[in-house]
């Protein structure tokens, strides 16, 4: 058998045009329409191949998501190929998605015939010959780069799940990510794919599907946490001949990349989730609104949709159930506000992505005035497992108010950057210090930024907060889409507030005044804080700065209360949480003119330590304002009145001769 569309014998009649209702079950369990031991054996053997239970050649899995490729996975693959050719070894090479441990990429898994699948990390092209020699030729384990075996109980080396990064995780959404070949529909089916839609179509009415999702307690993973079942119920009850389901894959949050990873590593799961959603609400058409910045995700999705159509899993009369469903990809054009439901709809309709006042909500009048459900990628990726394993199983994970798991993208000043899926209810401390491995270079933890530009920065004092929708809101952040940026003592909170306001100001669509004008004013106030003035005795400037801060909080409240959409309403959050937890840092900037993190460059003075300076002249060459003077081979000096505090000298100096005060 080469693929599941190849008929086991002449009895099988499944085609995309004329579908067999047993197709999905038949693919994994053997033919159901006729009895033949030969056919069952054939299908069983193909499944074993797909699950890599039985193979004659070594199999090499290469993590090739965008992160893996950026870390050099393509070069590693090439080197592996040439190395294998050199030794005359035949092996199967499979590109998988991302397993989540981005800090240690490129990750290569090697599975010998009848052996365990063992993961190796930080595999560079230089290491490849050694890796091939030790593992494939000698059949051993390369301890220096070992990550662990994929088996929970391994006989030859430590298990992946002994690693704290994986030990505390509970994978539902990411269960296949980095494990299976994301391009192969057969691999997805063999790993239990399309059983959810199969079950929904055969055994459940659409009310039952909606009830199952309601009972599971699944809440929207895009940020606000609206119960998904409720949304579906509202849409289901709408009487309309056309309805739409839209997947929001416009992951605009800077610092979040979980949607990208799901799209790249397990696109079929999303497709299946959308099909179930379409069946539940009565929609026959779905859109995936994906960021254009994710070319790999878009190409994989396109390929997967084509495959599904070829198999008859998307199209007319799916699995002979009378349900029709088609999917289309819409490329976003880069606007953060398009993450807002009504703005996203406007964008699909070919207009400027500006939000509309609600009600009417999209579930009543959405895309082209028809009832529309918009769900986030992660939400939809949960659906198939819920239908498959039941609401009770899903509800047993997490806490009472927040069920299931949440995917976070750990980034910033943390050892184990990457993608983690944690059961709701574990504390931020566990995520940062146990899973994340703490802060690199023995620096001190300062804050964690959750929820992107709409969220907030949480300090050490609230690190015991469990990860739940409500608790995070209480402490001044929000779940958001799952950005989790860790900051250490070298991060300045005033600078972070400035960064987010700058982002929001740029991304504000300009429709409502509080957001358009208010965020700009807030940015001006924040920007004024670290600016150094020529005349240090000028008290009016200091007074203005001080007055700005007093007004800042009130301005923030007004923007929060009066903005039209979620973007504006949550825009002041980074500032408010900053003022709440890091007031001392703001005051230090204001009164002492000092930035403890050394980030606000306007407050710094640069000088050269002549005992260390070798006079190489590199900083002189790099200085954009010609503020550095000195003869080659002798100590250099910085002319303070010319220095613009850009910090280029500090970045370029190879001898650590630049002092910062």
């Amino acid at each position: 058998m080469k693929n599941f569309m190849e008929k086991c014998c002449s009895e099988c009649w499944h085609t995309p045009e004329n579908q067999c209702q047993y197709f999905v079950q038949c693919c994994t369990e053997g033919p159901l329409c006729h009895h033949s031991d030969e056919c069952t054996a054939k299908i069983k053997e193909y499944n074993a191949q797909l699950l890599f239970k039985k193979h004659d050649e070594p199999v090499i899995f290469i993590g090739a998501g965008t992160c893996g490729l950026a870390a050099g996975a393509a070069k590693v693959e090439e080197t592996i190929k040439t190395e294998l050719a050199k030794h005359n070894i035949n092996a199967t090479i499979i590109r998988t998605g991302c397993i989540g441990y981005c800090a240690r990429e490129p990750i290569v898994d090697i599975k010998l015939p009848n052996g365990e699948r063992i993961a190796y990390c930080e595999v560079t092209p230089k290491l490849v010959p050694k890796l091939v020699q030790t593992t494939i030729i000698d059949g051993g384990v390369l301890e220096s780069n070992l990550l662990g075996s994929h088996e929970r109980k391994s006989e030859i080396c430590s298990s992946l799940y002994d690693n704290p990064f994986f030990a505390l995780q509970k994978k539902i959404v990411l269960e296949n990510c980095g494990i299976i070949n994301p391009d192969s529909i057969d691999a997805y089916i063999a790993n239990g794919g399309f059983r959810g839609i199969n079950k929904a179509l055969k055994l459940m009415t659409n009310e039952e599907v909606v009830k199952e999702i309601l009972d599971s307690g699944l809440r929207g993973r895009g940020g606000a946490g609206f119960p998904t079942g409720k949304k579906w119920e509202l849409a289901m009850k709408q009487k309309s001949d056309t309805k739409y389901i839209i997947c929001n894959a416009d992951e605009g949050d800077p610092g979040a990349f979980m949607d990208r990873s799901v799209l790249e590593s397990d696109p079929y799961k999303l497709i299946e989730g959308m099909m179930i959603a379409g069946y539940a609400i009565g929609a026959n058409f779905g859109y995936i609104y994906c960021r254009a910045e994710y070319p790999l995700a878009i190409s994989r999705l396109t390929h997967c949709i084509e495959e599904c159509e070829k198999y008859g899993i998307l199209g007319e009369n799916i699995l002979n159930s009378g349900f029709n469903f088609r999917l289309k990809i819409k490329k976003g054009a880069g606007a953060f506000v398009c993450g807002e439901e009504t703005a996203l709809i406007a964008s699909i309709e070919g207009k400027r992505g500006m939000p509309k006042p609600r009600p009417p909500f999209p579930v009543v009048a959405g895309l082209w005035g028809k009832p529309t459900v918009i769900n986030n990628v992660e939400t939809l990726a949960n659906i198939s497992s819920i239908i498959n394993k039941g609401a009770e199983w899903f509800a047993s994970v997490g806490t009472d108010r927040s069920r299931g798991t949440k995917v976070f993208a750990l980034s910033g000043k943390i050892v184990n950057t990457g993608l983690v899926e944690i059961p709701m209810g574990i504390t931020l401390e566990d995520v940062v210090f146990k899973i994340g491995g703490g802060i690199p270079f023995n620096k001190k933890f300062k804050a964690v930024q959750i929820g992107g530009p709409s969220g907030g920065c949480l300090p050490m004092s609230v690190i015991q907060t469990p990860v739940e929708y409500e608790t995070l809101k209480e402490v001044g952040a929000m779940m958001g889409s799952g950005g989790f940026v860790v900051m250490d003592e070298d991060t300045c909170m005033v600078d972070i507030a400035r960064f987010f306001l700058n982002f929001i100001k740029d991304e504000s669509c300009g429709k409502c005044v509080p957001c358009r004008e208010g965020t700009k004013r807030m940015l001006e106030i924040i920007e004024r804080i670290p600016v150094a003035y020529d005349d240090k005795n000028d008290k009016t400037d200091q007074l203005n700065r001080f007055k700005g801060i007093i007004g800042l909080k009130r301005l923030a409240e007004v923007i929060k209360d009066t903005s039209l959409c979620g973007l504006g309403q949550s825009a002041p959050n980074p500032v408010l949480s900053g003022l709440k937890y890091f007031k001392d840092e703001y005051e230090e900037h204001l009164f002492d003119r000092h930035c403890r993190a050394g980030v606000c460059k306007e407050l710094l003075t640069f000088s050269i330590d002549n005992t260390l300076c070798t006079g190489c002249g590199l900083c002189k060459k790099k200085c954009p304002n010609e503020a550095i003077v000195g003869q080659k081979g002798e100590g250099h000096f910085i002319l303070q009145d010319k220095c613009i505090q850009c910090g280029m000298c500090l970045e370029t100096c190879r001898f650590c001769a630049i002092n910062v005060n």
């Binding site: 965008t66 990349f257 054009a333 070919g350 950005g483």
Partner: protein
Amino acid sequence: MANQIIEKYPKNDRSILIPLLQDIQEENGYLPEDVLKEAAAHIGISMSSIYGVATFYNQFRLTPLGKNVIRVCRGTACHVKNSANILFGLETALNIKAGQTTRDKNFTLEVVSCIGACSIAPVICINDDYYGRVTVKEIDRILKKYQPVQPKPSPQKAEEVVK
């Protein structure tokens, strides 16, 4: 060429506007005015509506790009890891500001809000190549790969020769 792209899409359907603009930009590298006029006639909307959409989204540009496009990620994770310095370093190395193209049309420097490769921050992306964990020291070396084969001697080097 432009006609072929436009003809692929149905007439008088507003919803095709953004994909159409994306295709035009992919073909030309930017949105040329004369092509936009044709597109406006094809869809049956005014030129000002197209201008409104084209200037709203970050992706679209109305001026041609350089040969190599450098995208500097300015997401949160990259910001925390000093991407501002990377951007400043690139600006000084190329002697242009973000959003501009060098005189010789070799480089365009762009800022994007997030590339989605936060785990290897700070990231820059030149054409389709990603560079993770970039430092200011590396900038010259990275840019060199994309310089034309025989670069003209820069004024600074010329000075050294005179000495």
